[in-house]
Symmetry: C2
Subunit: 402 residues, 2 copies
Amino acid sequence: MISDLMSAADTPSPTDPALANDRRVELGLDRPIRLDCGVELASVTVAYSTYGQLNADRSNAILICHALTGDHYVADPHPITGKPGWWADLVGPGRLLDTDRYFLICSNVLGGCMGTTGPADIDPATGRPWGLSFPVITIGDMVEVQARLIDHLGIGQLFCVIGGSMGGMQVLEWAHSHPDRVFAAIPIASAARHSAQNIAFNEVGRQAIMADPDWCDGDYQSHGLRPKRGLAVARMAAHITYLSEPALHQKFGRNLQNRDRFTYGFDADFQVESYLRHQGSTFVDRFDANSYLFITRAMDYFDLAAENGGVLANAFRGTRTRFCVVSFSSDWLFPTPESRAVVHALNAVAANVSFVEIRSDKGHDAFLLDEPEFHATLAGFLDGAAAHRGLPPSTGQRRYGR
Amino acid sequence: MISDLMSAADTPSPTDPALANDRRVELGLDRPIRLDCGVELASVTVAYSTYGQLNADRSNAILICHALTGDHYVADPHPITGKPGWWADLVGPGRLLDTDRYFLICSNVLGGCMGTTGPADIDPATGRPWGLSFPVITIGDMVEVQARLIDHLGIGQLFCVIGGSMGGMQVLEWAHSHPDRVFAAIPIASAARHSAQNIAFNEVGRQAIMADPDWCDGDYQSHGLRPKRGLAVARMAAHITYLSEPALHQKFGRNLQNRDRFTYGFDADFQVESYLRHQGSTFVDRFDANSYLFITRAMDYFDLAAENGGVLANAFRGTRTRFCVVSFSSDWLFPTPESRAVVHALNAVAANVSFVEIRSDKGHDAFLLDEPEFHATLAGFLDGAAAHRGLPPSTGQRRYGR
């Protein structure tokens, strides 16, 4: 099965048979999902993928949490873009997230736009798209829906919860709100609260979307429109924050599209302009503008310390989870001090925690890229945690990269 | 005169008599202004202010160069916002830019929107606003127009050229293209070329403007419209880059507008959101969207090394100008390494240069704010340069701040 998926990833296509792995389940029918804002959802559809086999004692499950604009196509080609999954290099037999050893689960977050209930879906109460009437969700709500999925899959305790950026926020929320269900936790390039600067960047993106007349006060679906221009600007602004200045300098510098000279106009003279425009224009094909509003809002609201009497350590008191906290030296969106604050809180409650700042010039996006030291760190931690959990050791040669 | 101005600044009003200092001159009538793009402008109107008196041997003139969204209201209240001039605290008798000693000149840049010829003005060839048909200008073109103004004022050599951010680019351009006309040069929080990241941020701003349907392909004046929403988003994105993350954290942190709780909506829950929205909405009242396009483009194109065979030192070979290069430790838009590159180039040609990195947590905007160490650095350099130039020493007590 997995080898089919991986070979399929080499020749991605929107009609790829690998998408048979793209599952849907309706959760909450037995017990409504009460959100932090007070609204109750009678049910939620969750889109998810799994890889590998759950073992007999259900102890080998890893939940992978995706970032703001990610989805559950973690290893399969994306049905819209046809591009390989966002962690395709890490998932497979003998790979870091070894499908011969682990049962991997990744679901599209609540509020998303790739199959899980979100603002683009139909509100059963009105028969029309939710739009802005969708309830404002939190990272905690996303995790609650994931917990229902884990229940549905018959898993008590996850061997590991792993994710980068907003995925890392979900990891921390899992360790806080379901401590007994998380044997190991790997928050990567993340934080226990969203900073003022990050809220500011999110707000710029939201204002760009809302400034687009095609947004129609959030009701663009009813008008057969999509705020493509505003969403593209939001993506462009955000994309800068995912890269480091050195990475932009090395990748593009001041290189011109036309090598000879300036055009003395407003076309994309510089390669970095062309790159950004491409990032913006391709993003709008695969992402819903209202989902962008709701998910960025969830990130803004995230603040584990504030929810725990202003003391982050309180969020993890009594934890028995093993933590591996990872940051990247050139990440200025979720800089190392944010991860260090998590580590200090975990140390304060005598948690089992290892912390690594990976030297990288790739900025925040490093968690999605080929970073050997990062991957070696994950491998070492997972092997150690697996041994403690009593999982059989890896067989055969470890495969890295493409 | 000056004391009138300064007291007037305490009670600013759009009809302030101090605006008698807001002068206009038409330049180029004798000799057209040939721009770097190849276009010739038959004449250019320049809006400027002066403070203090030119001395008998015309040796005490200081040219102040403004930044991207600045103007020549350096010490006078702004005619639209009514706010004090952007360096009002620095200008006046006994102040850092001492109007008892120096003759200060500040002009609105070519392409600007506060009186100097720019895209919002009428193209004499068509009788309609230039809009996007305005020629794409460069920092060199801005300096050429300033040089014509200095000619008009009967000044051969400027005692000093000073400016921050894009103003610092003009300072460096002056020192490069008119070395004999600049006795001392103070580029602050600046760079000899715009970085890939800064081009990227500028491009986001331009795309935000161009995404606004009210921009009308640059022809919004003909339609009686203004792309306010797009320009506000551009300003919001740029404004984040003017501040440091610590400054945002200290000023706003995650403080809520409504102290009690989240609203679970998209109003400005966080104070930092409200602040950004205010920055965006007030900016559109005083700035022209097309000017924003043209001036950001001029910054993007600036690259003194590229214009000099790829070697920055070549730009300053043989210079006799005295330089004081200033950066701020928390400025991530024009970080210290950019200033250091200028200093290295100046050292390579044995120029007279002092370099100070001011420790500040205020980010790029520090050059506009009350930073005592910064002001002391400027005072020391100016006093020393004035002595070398044979200007009489300061009389009386130095006054700082408000």
